[in-house]
Amino acid sequence: MKLLSLARRWETVLAAVLAIVLGTAAWLDPAFMALSTQLELSTHAVELLIVALPMTFVILSGGIDLSVGSSLALAAVIFGLSYEAGAPVWAASVLGVLTGSLCGIVNGAFIAGARVHPLIVTLATLAAYRGLAEGISLGRPISGFPDRFLAIGEGSVGGVPYSLLIAVAAVLAFALTSTRTVFGRRVYAIGSNEIAARYAGVPIARMKLWLYGIAGTVAGLAGIIHVARRNTAKADVLPQVELDVITAVVLGGTSIFGGRGSVVGTVLGVLVIHEVREFVGWRWQRDELILVVVGSILIVSVLAHNLVARRAR
């Protein structure tokens, strides 16, 4: 009976999918599964993973944030420009992350204060933030950052990349917040039934301001990590990453209508997408194939999810 309820959980299904992917990879090309290879390739997914964490919270609360990729780009550009203007690299980094926070708070203010639907607000800021980044940098790439800064993106301790350590810390923080804190329970409460949550005394507006603020802040952090990894701050970094992020969260089992889902699911969703992408790229050297395979896995997974959900009811 316990086994049955375990099998009903979406996370279990995803873990099985991941196991199949990794098993197939190990069978076809053992070199891909070497620990050192996996650790080095993991840096390709760090931005996706850490941005997907607050996105999980936002979607759990019944909202959406389409502007994370643009906030990330704006943070990267502000970081690059302020470093170029002579700011110390740490100060420029802080400024970059704060830029992300500001982007998120502006979203939150419109959503919580002016009560505009998050889809509309963030669709607008998706264009606005990216446009702002293009405008103030004139589309010019900025590079030439000091090595000690690039170490955030490329350095490692005992073979484990620093950026992966940051990601793991972020995963733990978000996972614990979602299950062990009042904040986390409130996120679920808002997503399940906002009116009920309000009558239960949940400060809806303040919570939303926090949620979008955190999403922007983490996007800013991801922007800085990305610059450190590729040594370039540019307005068009990671185009359409917001879609990858939302895809990973939804694949992770979080209901797009809010209220149901988990951080663990999101992590598994990111891992499935990451491993499939990397392995298809590794093995078959055809970029166009990656989209096809990731797309098929998505469709099959969503179909499977619906089946599992119907059974569970």
Binding site: E40, L41, G281, E288, L307, V308
Partner: protein, 339 residues
């Protein structure tokens, strides 16, 4: 019953995965047991006719050499991040040579540096990155040759020794290293034709619709515009289409860089008189020969020439391996080329 469903779902997914795997495995590049040389050729953007023709030449060279495993892959959306991830993966796989046409010299340069630290031989082709990131660059033509050829073609098309009028440039992006070098030498050459005035240099961001629109705007703002240079394979057809649709064929001349197949229709209807390019098939061919020679040790720093199959002796200037033959396609010869 429910457990059965779960098992079923897992089985279905496994089958789909396995199916996908076998379906694509037919075209898989098998790692070779003997001393084959694996050469990876990375274009700026996969699927552009320009790069597809380069890959044809590359495959010819690989077939001729016999011991080459050629991998041709690049981002289908031209994203530098994806291109850099590919270089990362190839480096981890331990291929012999990676030949990169960087769509962003900094982003790719960083990945190329890491690959070199792993002992992979790295060269650039078609476009360059910082010298420390690669050993050689396979250069289709010097920026000087290209810049001068473009301006000379325009002058000739305008039809007199001292052509007069306003001309404009539509480039790729304002940061594109290749294009900026060409523009520098175009300006140098324009001094030879003092009555030609360059009124604007506009980016098209590798977007044909944008190039089309910019050409329209230029013609509106300057009714006496005589010529437009479209100096990327995307800007050129975009500008030509705008001139044609405005009914200005022959009045506003368009010249630039693109593959002959892209421009044939415009050359035939008189919108374009000259198309400037190098032989892209030969560029891919030369790149694979250079990569092979580097891996086998026949190409070393300091050499001033090397032999590249059917192309014979090719000149090397410093760390630049030169293809060195600019082609000008006109209505008289364009039908002889199919790429």
């Amino acid at each position: 019953m429910k457990i059965l469903t779960q098992v079923l779902i897992t089985a279905i997914m496994a089958t789909v995965m396995a199916f996908t795997a076998t379906a694509v495995a037919t075209g898989a590049v098998e790692p070779s047991p003997s001393k084959r040389i694996t050469i990876c050729l990375l274009p700026k953007k996969k699927g552009l006719p320009y790069f597809t023709t380069c890959s044809k030449g590359a495959q010819q060279a690989a077939d001729e050499l016999g011991d080459v495993e050629l991998i041709y892959d690049g981002p289908t959306d031209g994203s530098p991040e994806k291109a850099a991830s590919m270089v990362d993966r190839w480096a981890l796989r331990g291929v012999d040579v990676i030949a990169v046409s960087p769509n962003d010299p900094e982003v790719l340069g960083q990945a190329m540096k890491k690959a070199r630290e792993k002992g992979i031989r790295v060269i650039t082709w078609d476009a360059d990155a910082a010298p420390a990131t690669r050993e050689f660059m396979v250069n289709q033509a010097t920026a000087r040759e290209i810049g001068h050829a473009l301006v000379d073609a325009m002058a000739k098309d305008l039809g007199s020794d001292q052509p007069e009028g306003k001309v404009a440039i539509i480039t790729a992006t304002l940061t594109a290293a290749n294009q900026n070098e060409w523009i520098k030498y175009m300006k140098e050459r324009l001094e030879k034709y003092p009555k030609l005035t360059l009124i604007a240099t506009k980016p098209s961001n590798e977007d044909q619709r944008l190039a089309f629109q910019i050409a329209q705007d230029l013609m509106k703002a300057h009714p006496d515009l005589k010529g437009i240079f479209g100096i990327s394979s995307v800007a050129f057809p975009g500008a030509a289409e705008a001139v044609k649709q405005a009914g200005n064929s022959g009045k506003v001349l368009v010249t630039g860089l693109a593959t002959p197949n892209d421009m044939k229709a415009y050359v035939k209807d008189g919108t374009v008189k000259s198309v400037v390019l190098w032989n892209t098939v030969d560029l891919g061919y030369l790149t694979v020969h250079a990569a092979h020679a580097l891996a086998t040790g026949t190409l070393k720093p300091g050499q001033t020439s090397f032999t590249a199959g059917r192309l014979g002796e090719r000149k090397i200037e410093g760390d630049q391996i030169l293809l060195g033959q600019i082609l000008v396609f006109t209505k008289d010869n364009i039908d002889q080329f199919d790429f």
